[in-house]
């Protein structure tokens, strides 16, 4: 099998065999300073052999638990070894990526040339060292077997070189033709440069930029009040009071990774005695966003009422505001007053954010309020599009109009999947056939490739960001270089290379384009040194930032007036379109990691559903099915000006009444292979419902006047958390059966008066059992059946999770998947309760169903010192390490599942099937070689990333002089990937370590301590910061 693998990837490297190229590379290594114009060395070195060497080594990580000596295994050494690679020692390179225009710098881990895991680049202001779940998952897309392998032009499959040549000659032939470009909103200086060049080259060419998840409203507002399209950057540092008007700044609106971190820093209590400095977050929204779930006060309001609320608050802040078109309920009026007072009191410490769903006037109001309050908001030009470009929806309409009118001879589509993402009233699928010819840079076959007329189309495989050179500008102008880790696995081109080819440069390599441009821009003197430093750090000096903050101040509301809207009613409901937290606009539909990670609020995997408030559901006769009904939920039909959509219905507490929330990005086919994904709970691999048909360009995020009716039939939903609401904790008639609090929370005031409120009844790590606890009867004294092991020696690993700063964003779950080779099991298996995530993101509602509060609690193995799982295993497959780890030994496990039964937190995961059976070897290349791929029939669970601990200890031993620093830097994937740094890991025997100090904090508590588990993972109780004068 290995030799096959080798050959396969061998072929896929078109220019692998240029031996002179490698000679050039070697020479380069020694004469950097002299020769600054070397071509990017393709044939060799880091990006040379790697793909296929990686493949052969990767395969060796796959036999799983039952390895056998024969048949004989091959060892394939390099013929020419790249200096920097030593097998067994991973490489790290800096690069940068973006999703929907939101840029984060990344550090990529590469094993023998295979990028396996990305982490945040601390030097990049969009990342601050962390990533979102989406950015984490992109690495899987690199190895997606469904990616296009070669350029398809009138029935022929072309190599990259041939494709370049073809494009060059096409470009030459386009003189005088009417060319139109359609691009995604990628904030890349190089793309902007080539865009200008292209527009200059092809006279009368049009350039459209389209993002389905659009900031049109923000753009329109800033255009009105500043005279140019700008993007606000909020200074959370030092913020005291934050008002989010439907803005999900923690859940993906704007630079969410950085924002979450900065916001969390204002919410951290940790070991502090005093929590009075905490910021306070108000959220006003109709849907239930991640931000709303983290708010101290969430004001439930219909979509139109959000605007009215903004107007009300603005009025009290002395901002001239138009008259609202809908009335606020009494509680909302009171709330608005309280919020306004709070904002005023905070002055410059106040922040008002407007969400992309809200009409321009709300954005204008927010800008005006921030100006009035002197809030720290800076505005930057929008680098995702040309300054004079049309808005997303307008662009879509204009392009389709032009196409239908036959005014486009040539259409160049740079990535994206417009046929799916375009609004319903701009149907690209029909119009595109009218184009004379189409060049489409595509990731894989999709709705758009299907719509193309093969005879007139050239479909070019698009290079993954880990395969191509480029650069991206962060929202605040910081530029980062996109450095590839591996040669294109298939004959793929990047946007830059494709454009360059069209412009006639048929040998243009991304490397030359980017490096050349930066050299021209910053001068040749000492450029090579500079370049190397930028590549090493991943970011370009701010001296060369793409743009600077705009000095302009907002001028009133720029003539924007209140939107005419009516309150939703039972016969005309509001419809809200929200981007999927997992699939975004649908571009992750083929990514199993994103499909299987649950939605943070609904906990639904693999699907979307029409979300309804309990009251609305009741009115429609949609019932919340009991758990033992397999979640066969009701179907509803949503009719919105003519178009109808039949979709599953899901009851979601906290939504505005008479409002349907529809999630974008679903209803697409999942084309990859999961051995057990099909079963009695899903007959097709098209998951969820495409809400596109209801989405008009006029109302891309919010529409009103919809009819919703319950229709026949039911639909299986795979939700990972079945029991969540307080009412479901106990059985009818026994609701008030008290059980110890799993999530412990207090308020700032409560913390001040009783800091140790979380402690009572808790057995502290190492401390003697308090005699007067409710459960003393269960545990006369804390004893281990193993006898007392001395944990005071050596490293003792522990973890603290801060519930105050955990936003429930799922980044840790995906980071864990990427690091630990966790298999994705598919909808059917998730439905059967067999999801494999080592971290479970528990979500609890508290309070009433109408407007509940939410707590997010990540639960992984707690590494109990007296672990109940250990003594019941008949073969000693799970035992304790002297460093306090609860070791799970896959190769010893025989799968009695007793440990899982006996785990009080149910964090153990069992391989009921061989979940990696028959998967494409490309997927295998993502696997982490330091973690065993588990076979069918074995148990697995969180290991605190023991492979990282071992690596850290090894490196510490190899470098005694910096031993302590290396030990202190050991971090599991989840803690590393957490945007808010809510997870702290370290050696609890080292009193100086952060984790040890947090464990000493007053808020620290462990779960189920009455079982005397002596957990190594503890939690910091959640501290909310409610406004005492807020109307209850």
């Amino acid at each position: 099998m290995k030799s096959d693998t080798t050959r396969k990837y061998w072929r896929s490297f078109d220019e692998r065999n240029q031996t002179d190229a490698y000679k050039a590379e070697v020479s380069r290594e020694f004469q950097d300073e002299l020769d600054v114009s070397t071509p990017e060395p393709e044939g060799t070195s880091r990006r040379g052999f790697l793909g296929w060497v990686g493949a052969s080594l990767a395969a060796s990580g796959l036999a799983g638990c039952d390895a056998i000596r024969r048949p004989a295994e091959k060892i394939l050494p390099y013929s020419v070894a790249p200096e920097e690679i030593l097998p067994g020692i991973p490489q790290y390179y800096a690069s940068v990526t973006q999703v929907g225009g939101e840029v984060v710098g990344v550090l990529v881990e590469s094993h023998e040339g295979r990028p396996t895991k990305v982490e945040g680049n601390p030097l990049h202001r969009g990342s601050l060292g962390a990533l979102s779940a989406l950015h984490q998952s992109q690495v899987l897309d690199l190895y997606d077997p469904q990616r296009l392998r070669a350029t398809a032009a009138n029935g022929r499959a072309l190599s990259a070189a041939e494709a370049r040549a073809l494009l060059a000659e096409k470009g030459a032939a386009w003189a005088g033709k009417r060319v139109a470009f359609l691009a995604e909103g990628v904030p890349s200086p190089q793309l902007a440069r080539l865009r200008a060049a292209a527009l200059a080259r092809f006279a009368g060419a049009q350039w459209f930029t389209y993002e389905s998840v659009s900031d049109d409203h923000q753009r329109a507002a800033t255009q009105a009040v500043f005279g140019e399209a700008l993007r606000p950057v909020y200074g959370f540092a030092g913020a005291k009071t934050i008002l989010s008007l439907d803005a999900d700044f923690l859940g993906g609106e704007g630079p969410a990774v950085a924002a979450a971190r900065q916001w969390a820093d204002t919410r951290r209590v940790g070991a502090n005695k005093d929590a009075s400095a905490l910021s306070r977050l108000y959220a006003v929204e109709a849907s239930f966003s991640l931000t709303g779930s983290n708010a101290d006060h969430r004001v439930r309001a219909s979509h139109a009422q959000v605007e009215a609320f903004a107007i009300a608050v603005a009025g009290q802040l002395g901002v001239s505001a138009p008259a609202a078109s809908v009335v606020l309920e009494d509680r909302q009026v009171k709330a608005a007053a309280a919020v306004a007072a709070d904002l005023r009191a905070s002055g410059a410490g106040a922040l008002v954010l407007a969400g992309r769903k809200q009409p321009p006037v709300v954005h204008a109001l927010a800008a005006a309020m921030n100006a009035a309050l002197g809030a720290s908001v800076r505005y930057y030009p929008d680098a995702r599009r040309a300054p004079d470009a049309l808005g997303d929806m307008a662009a879509a309409k204009a392009l389709v109009a032009a196409l239908s009118a036959g005014e486009v001879d040539v259409l160049v589509i740079l990535g994206g999947n417009p046929a799916y993402t375009f609004p319903a009233d701009a149907k690209l699928a029909d119009a595109v056939k009218k184009a004379g010819e189409v060049v489409y840079l595509a990731d894989m076959t999709n709705e758009t490739t299907a719509a193309l007329d093969a005879a007139k189309a050239v479909v070019v495989p698009r290079a993954h960001y880990l395969e191509a050179w480029g650069d991206l500008a962060h929202i605040d102008g910081q530029v980062a270089l996109q450095q590839p880790l591996i040669q294109p696995l298939h004959a793929a081109l990047s946007e830059l290379e494709l454009l360059a080819a069209l412009l006639g440069d048929k040998d243009a390599k991304g490397y030359d384009l980017v490096r050349g441009a930066w050299k021209d821009a910053t001068g040749a003197v000492g450029f090579h040194k500079r370049w190397r430093r930028w590549l090493h750090e991943g970011v370009v000096d701010d001296a060369h930032a793409a743009f600077a903050a705009s000095p302009k101040a907002p001028s009133g509301l720029g003539g924007l007036t209140a939107t005419a809207a009516a309150a939703p009613a039972a016969d005309k409901l509001d419809v809200l379109f929200v981007p999927s937290h997992n699939l975004f606009d649908g571009r992750f539909a083929n990514n199993s990691w994103q499909q299987e990670v649950p939605d943070p609020l609904t906990k639904i995997t693999w699907d979307n559903a029409a979300l309804l408030s309990p009251a609305t559901a009741k009115a429609l006769g949609v019932v919340e099915r009991p758990v033992d009904s397999d979640f066969a939920v009701d179907m509803v039909e949503v009719t919105l000006n003519g178009a109808t959509l039949k979709t599953a219905a899901w009851v979601m507490p906290g939504l505005a009444d008479n409002t349907v929330v529809l999630t974008l990005g679903y209803g697409r086919e999942f084309k990859n292979y999961l051995p057990y994904q099909e079963g009695s709970y899903n007959d097709s691999t098209v998951y969820g419902f495409d809400v596109g048909p209801l989405r008009a360009s006029a109302a891309p995020f919010a529409a009103s006047g919809a009819k919703v009716t319950k229709v026949e039939g039911s639909y299986f939903i795979a939700a990972v958390q079945r029991y969540d609401n307080s009412r479901q904790h106990s059985i009818e008639g026994f609701e008030n059966m008290e059980r110890p609090k799993i999530v412990r929370e207090t308020t700032v005031a409560g913390y001040a008066e009783n800091p140790t409120f979380a402690k009572p009844g808790i057995i502290q790590h190492g401390a003697p059992m308090p005699d007067k606890t409710k459960f003393a009867v269960l545990h006369p004294e804390a004893k281990s059946i193993y006898g007392d092991f001395d944990y005071s020696q050596g490293h003792q690993w522990g973890m603290v999770i801060d519930l105050s700063t955990c936003t429930g964003c799922n980044a840790c779950m995906v980071a864990c998947v990427a690091e630990n080779n966790i298999p994705m099991v598919g909808k059917d298996q998730v439905r059967r309760g067999r999801e494999m995530h080592w971290i479970r993101m528990d979500r609890y509602f508290t309070g009433d169903d109408a407007n509940p509060e939410v707590v997010h609690q990540p639960i992984a193995c707690q590494q109990c010192e007296t672990a109940p799982c250990e003594n019941v295993c008949p073969v000693a497959a799970t035992v304790h390490s002297p460093e306090g780890l609860n070791d799970m030994v896959y190769n010893r496990c025989i799968g009695t599942r007793y440990c899982a039964n006996n785990c009080p937190l149910k964090v153990r995961r069992f391989n009921f099937y061989n979940y990696s059976k028959g998967q494409d070897e490309l997927i295998h290349m993502q696997r982490n070689p330091n973690v065993t791929v588990r076979f069918r029939g074995v148990m697995e669970k969180c290991t605190y990333c023991v492979q990282r601990i071992n690596k850290g200890k090894r490196n510490a031993a190899l470098n005694p002089e910096v031993k302590q620093q290396i030990i202190d830097r050991i971090t599991p994937a989840c803690a590393q990937g957490c945007p808010t740094k809510a997870i702290t890991f370290g050696d609890i025997n080292n009193p100086k370590s952060e984790v040890a100090q947090l464990k000493a904090a007053a808020l620290d508590y462990v779960l189920l301590s009455e079982l005397n588990l002596q957990s190594r993972t503890s939690f910091l109780a959640k501290v909310r910061n409610p406004n005492p004068s807020f109307p209850g």
Partner: protein, 222 residues
């Protein structure tokens, strides 16, 4: 059964002497057979029998005896990284060509090596020393601790073709992890072949370097 033992008309089936069969079976044959069976499994099913001595034919007849034993190359000249990485790398063709561009430039034995050099494709060696995928052997840790190459790989300097010298099974690993002093050498002697370990010295090294081999699962399995 013969007529003599049975008298016709009597109901019993078996002649008297058959009473001895159980005695013979349970008293003599049984014990012997079971002892043999146990011994057989013990010996023939153990990796020491099934694996040790594994000597696959390599594409290139490279002789460690010649290069190490006679020419005295240091192990780390080819197998770089053993002291800092988890794996000791199998040398790239480059390493061979360092010398073989000058000597034996047209030896037929080296044809594959030259091809690999020119066509830039790997020589496909056959793996001899293999631990299962779930066992993470850490070369650097062992080399740094002063475990000789010889301890696991045997007298390479005497092998024309590389042969598996040790069973590399878990019990075998644990023997050493439980009593490391029996295998420790000073750093200078790690690559020495035929070094005689002196336990007193081993104990000394153990204390000096604070060597405490893991006996828990996650020390080797992840």
């Amino acid at each position: 059964m013969n007529e003599k033992d049975t008298n016709p008309g009597e109901p019993w089936v078996f002649p008297k002497w058959h009473n001895r069969i159980p005695l013979i079976f349970f008293g003599v044959i049984g014990p012997v057979v079971s002892v043999l069976a146990v011994a057989g499994v013990w010996y023939y099913f153990s990796p020491r029998f099934t694996d040790v001595g594994y000597r696959p034919e390599q594409p290139v007849p490279y002789s460690h005896k010649l290069h190490v034993g006679e020419l005295g190359l240091d192990c780390r000249y080819c197998h770089t990284g053993a002291e800092i990485s988890s794996s000791a790398r199998v040398p790239p063709t480059q390493t061979c060509m360092n010398c073989h561009t000058q000597i034996k430039t047209d030896s037929p034995d080296l044809r594959l090596v030259r091809e690999s050099w020119i066509e830039d494709k790997p020589v496909e060696w056959v793996r001899v020393h293999k631990t299962p995928d779930y066992a993470y052997f850490e070369h650097s840790a062992h080399v740094q601790a002063g475990v000789g190459c010889e301890s696991c790989h045997g007298r390479i300097d005497q092998m024309v073709e590389v042969t598996l010298a040790e069973p590399l099974n878990m019990g075998w690993c644990l023997d050493c992890h439980r009593a490391p002093e029996k295998h420790l050498r000073p750093a200078s002697e790690v690559t020495t072949m035929g070094y005689v370990v002196d336990e007193a010295m081993g104990l000394k090294l153990k204390d000096e370097k604070g060597i405490n081999p893991p006996l828990h699962w996650s020390g080797c399995h992840r």
